[in-house]
């Protein structure tokens, strides 16, 4: 090959690079390992991490992942292909995405969806940008405090330089959902959109019908932020209120994607047909080939960065194709009946766990609103040592709310899905009881009754 090029060494091919820049030495990159050696290293590290009985949700949910899903998704033809720019050579990926769009549109009861975004948090940020684009003049978006706290942070990071005002709306301290009276403070102001989580970060069901109608009555768009598993049994965003939400987003992780320390997951986004040209990300459409056969291709690319450059709807390029492939297979395998079973079993297990934990002296349910598969507990003792003690017993007991919601005091967000057995629930409740009993004793009466 060098002969064909008429050079004496590979190094000669780098002769256009200034000499001062060449001759790098990588001192901190270790020497190569064989596959056997790397496998051993990784197995040791994985084993060191151990396995725990997990009761955290907080935006990432442990569900059973059927065996077929990742065996199919990691086939080389899906795993090692790229964005389907050459549609005729990518009909597999394109049809999967078209089927995905069809399934998600129906689950969300909205007209159209894109082929995915990075995750739920960045999908929320893109939805805020999209709503403000569609509304033209209004720049304020109402973002309830009952939305996932990190999603709110991500929305701030990504929308910061657009003059958008993300205004938080408080929650009802008893019910745990967005406070309708608090919304009335914004009456008469120009609002671009209102975000409506369902269920919210506390696992509580929001009065979605009222919130959507309030948004529309005040000229705002309604952005739904939803859990896809819950929608198997809960009213979908397109049916909320009188006319339905305008945009829906969320994290697709519950649909067959392992927890895996946080990713890769995928974000989904759906909207009404009228808004489709404001939507970011890839979209697949059905069309015909030159012989009249049905086929699939990327469409509405005039919104995208590789065509529109600085005038694109977003800088997003790839989506989360492989993870979406897995989610599509998950939905096909479970169907509406299977997904509803997952939702009902998760809800039932969460309610059983809630009842068992609140029987413990010093543990109370924080909110009265209806819950899906997650709930907030208020402890009469600091949360951190309780979680530490649970961990020592092999249990990850929940998400400590102290950092993000200091006003809730010693509060813990706990989740149970269909993966938990009665024995798991019992083990958690008994562990909690013995830990709390050791840490928390009711204050002695001020006046000892005389005998």
């Amino acid at each position: 090959m060098l002969q064909a090029l008429g050079v004496g060494s590979i190094e000669a091919l780098f002769d256009e690079i200034p000499a001062a820049l060449r001759g790098v030495r990588l001192n901190d990159v270790p020497p190569a390992l064989t596959e056997m050696e790397v496998s051993r290293l990784m197995r040791e590290r994985a084993e060191a991490d151990g396995t725990y009985l997990n009761f955290i949700g907080a935006g990432a949910y442990e569900h059973h992942v059927p065996a077929a899903i990742w065996q199919i998704a990691t086939r080389g033809e899906f795993y090692s292909s790229y964005t389907p720019y050459q549609a005729e050579a990518s009909q597999g990926t394109l049809q999967v995405l078209y089927e995905y769009q069809s399934m998600m549109a129906s689950l969300l009861a909205l007209d159209v969806t894109n082929a995915s975004l990075y995750d739920g948090a960045s999908a929320l940020a893109e939805a805020v940008l999209m709503a403000v684009r569609a509304q033209r003049s209004a720049k304020r978006v109402l973002l309830p405090r009952s939305v996932h706290p990190v999603w709110r942070k991500v929305a701030r990071t990504i929308t910061r330089n657009h003059g958008i005002e993300l205004t938080e709306v408080g929650y009802d301290a008893d019910a745990g959902h967005t406070s309708l009276p608090a919304l009335e403070n914004f009456k008469g102001e120009e609002i671009a959109a209102v975000v409506v989580p369902q269920p919210n970060f506390f696992g509580v069901l929001e009065p979605a019908d009222e919130l959507v109608d309030w948004a529309h009555a005040h000229g705002a768009l309604a952005i739904a932020a939803v859990n896809p598993t819950a929608l198997a049994i809960l009213k979908p965003p397109g049916s909320w209120g009188t006319t339905g939400a305008d945009i829906a987003i969320g994290d697709g992780q519950p649909l067959g994607v392992p927890l895996a320390s946080g990713g890769p997951y995928f974000g989904f986004m759906a909207c009404r047909k009228a808004l489709v040209r404001q939507m970011p990300g890839r979209i697949v459409g059905a069309t015909r080939d030159s012989e009249g056969r049905r086929g699939y291709t990327l469409t509405l690319q005039a919104r995208e960065q590789h065509i529109r450059r600085s005038k694109a709807t977003s800088n997003i390029c790839t989506n989360q194709g492989l993870v979406v492939t897995a989610a599509t297979i998950y939905l096909a395998l479970l169907g509406a009946d299977g997904l509803a079973r997952v939702a009902r079993a998760s809800h039932a297990n969460a309610m059983t766990l809630l009842a068992a934990l609140t029987r413990v002296d010093g543990v109370e349910r924080a909110f009265s609103g209806s819950q899906f598969h997650e709930f907030v507990l208020r402890l009469k003792t600091p949360v951190t040592p309780v979680l530490e003690a649970l961990k020592a017993r092999g249990i990850i007991g929940g998400f400590d709310l102290g950092h993000d919601f200091p006003e809730l005091g010693d509060a813990l967000l706990v989740c149970a899905t269909e993966t938990k057995t009665d024995a798991d629930i019992m083990r958690y409740a008994e562990s909690m009881e013995s830990i709390i009993a050791r840490r928390y004793r009711p204050a002695p009466c001020a006046v000892r009754p005389s005998s």
């Binding site: 090959m1 256009e16 060191a48 399934m103 492939t325 599509t328």
Partner: protein, 482 residues
């Protein structure tokens, strides 16, 4: 056939779903769904067979040479996938305490350290979930830096006209205006034009090097000086890092920030369009602004840093710690390569590209920049072929599919007419490259002998050429039951 068309009422997979629980009586009726969603009702075998056969309607690296320029479609070692899917890694919740993920975090910490070393940056954050998000982080850091210095008049990002579309789109997402800098006849940034463009309004320059034209910017040190002297900062689009891995470092070229596409240089799968990962690196000036979280090592273990550790951070970009599984795959890949292997990546990517270019020129094709060495990729212009035969670059791309090769990137960069951007990568053999040359030579001969054969290609793919205009005009984005 769509999965919906295979659907039969009442067909369910009882083993994959849990046993049924009663309707939730504690949730009021007004919260509940009235009609079930329209999802397929298919057996496990139906589903497995359907998606297996769909996979067979794809070209992929595992089945075809895939010389898609700018995308670095190299072989994805299977060990990377297998080891990222170890059960303990998959089971761990992202909210679990750091001390239950020391093995996982050790991999991420060492990945950060290795990326620092190969880019010449002071610090790295693994948070961005794709190259475009890494770009966003980089430009947002530039903005945060200027803001922190009270330097709020800088309103413009400079971008070469050959840049990836994500560059200008990113600058706009960060609230900047975009000014394009022209390319000179040799494919370099036009230095005099750059000097005229910079000033007190310049926030920074975004640059890919080697550029999207497949050549190394000779004057990179001068370019850096012009931008820095004007008070601007330099952003490196790491899309083409594969060309110079372990040979030249962006930090040594003077860049202040960089993103790295792990799905390109570090061989994590493209997955039909994601998930990628776009870690971002920063020089000393920008390091305090890196996105969260960052893994830090301490004597008692590894830990994810938060707002309390990095108060100047631009913030968070993802709900959790980025695309963790992609990061693990890149880590395994880097450990398999080691420092020497990384150098071989750039060596053989460059050798393959230059060899392929030389052979294609010998076969009668025109290089867009014949006076230049190729980096890891190069551009052919088919303008002469089009003028002679009416056959376009798009037609040639489609005809290559019939010959069993995925097409190169077409019509990018937009400033070269009828262009093919070809990136063979280091993992292809000489035999594959020779076969590709023979195929392109055949297509050119066909274009001259029977142009309609090429113009009507592809002929052998699962569908013939698709009507994209119809797709956009008569939007059909979801299946509807009739």
């Amino acid at each position: 056939m769509l999965i919906f068309e295979l659907s039969r009422p009442g067909r369910v997979n009882r083993s994959q779903a849990p046993g049924d629980a009663p309707e939730p009586r504690d949730i009021p009726q007004r919260f509940l769904r009235a009609r079930p969603p329209l999802l397929p009702e298919a057996s496990e075998l139906d589903v497995v067979r359907h998606y297996t056969s769909l996979s067979q309607r794809n070209f992929s690296i595992d089945t075809h040479f895939y010389p898609l320029g700018s995308c670095t479609m190299k072989y994805n070692p299977r060990a990377c996938n297998a080891l990222a899917l170890l059960p303990q890694f998959l089971a761990r919740h992202p909210g679990a305490p750091d001390d239950t993920g020391q093995g996982f975090l050790a991999c991420l910490f060492e990945l950060q350290e290795m990326l620092k070393e190969v880019t010449g940056m002071a610090a790295v954050s693994l948070a961005p979930m794709a190259g475009a998000q890494g770009e966003f982080a980089g430009v947002a850091m530039i903005r945060a830096y200027h803001d922190a210095h009270g330097d709020t008049e800088r309103s413009e990002i400079l971008v070469p006209d050959a840049a990836h579309g994500t560059n200008p789109a990113t600058a706009v997402m960060c609230g900047y205006g975009v000014r394009e800098i022209p390319t000179d006849g040799d494919g370099n940034v036009d230095l005099p034009a750059l000097k005229r463009a910079v000033g007190a309004h310049t926030a920074g320059l975004m640059l890919t090097n080697p550029s999207t034209l497949g050549v190394f910017e000779h004057s990179i040190l001068d370019i850096g000086k012009v931008v820095h002297d004007a008070g601007g900062l330099l952003y490196y689009d790491g899309a083409n890092l594969n060309a110079i891995l372990a040979k030249v470092r962006p930090g040594d070229m003077g860049f202040d920030a960089i993103h790295i596409n792990l799905h390109k240089t570090f061989s994590t799968p493209h997955g039909g369009g994601g998930p990628g990962a776009g870690p971002v690196g920063a020089g000393a000036r920008l390091a305090p602004f890196l996105p969260l979280p960052i893994v830090c090592g301490r004597d008692e273990g590894y830990r994810l840093q938060d707002e309390r550790d990095l108060p100047l951070s631009i913030g968070r970009l993802a709900a959790h710690a980025g695309n963790a599984g992609v990061l693990l795959r890149a880590y395994v890949y880097m450990r398999l390569l080691g420092a020497e292997g990384m150098r071989r990546v750039a060596d053989f990517a460059t050798l393959n590209a230059n060899y392929l270019l030389a052979e294609l020129v010998k076969a009668g094709f025109d290089a867009a920049f014949p006076q230049r060495r190729a980096s890891h990729e190069f551009i052919l212009t088919l303008k002469r072929l089009k003028d002679e035969t009416g056959v376009t670059a798009a037609d040639v791309a489609k005809r290559l599919l019939d010959k069993g090769f995925h097409a190169p990137t077409v019509y990018f960069p937009q400033l070269v007419p009828e262009c093919l951007l070809i990136e063979p990568t280091e993992t292809e053999s000489k035999q594959t490259l020779d076969a590709f040359v023979a195929a392109l030579r055949e297509v050119a001969a066909e274009a001259r002998a029977s142009p309609d054969l090429v113009k009507s290609a592809p002929h052998t793919t699962p569908v013939r050429r698709l009507d994209e205009v119809r797709a956009a005009r008569e939007l059909d984005l979801t299946w509807k039951s009739v």
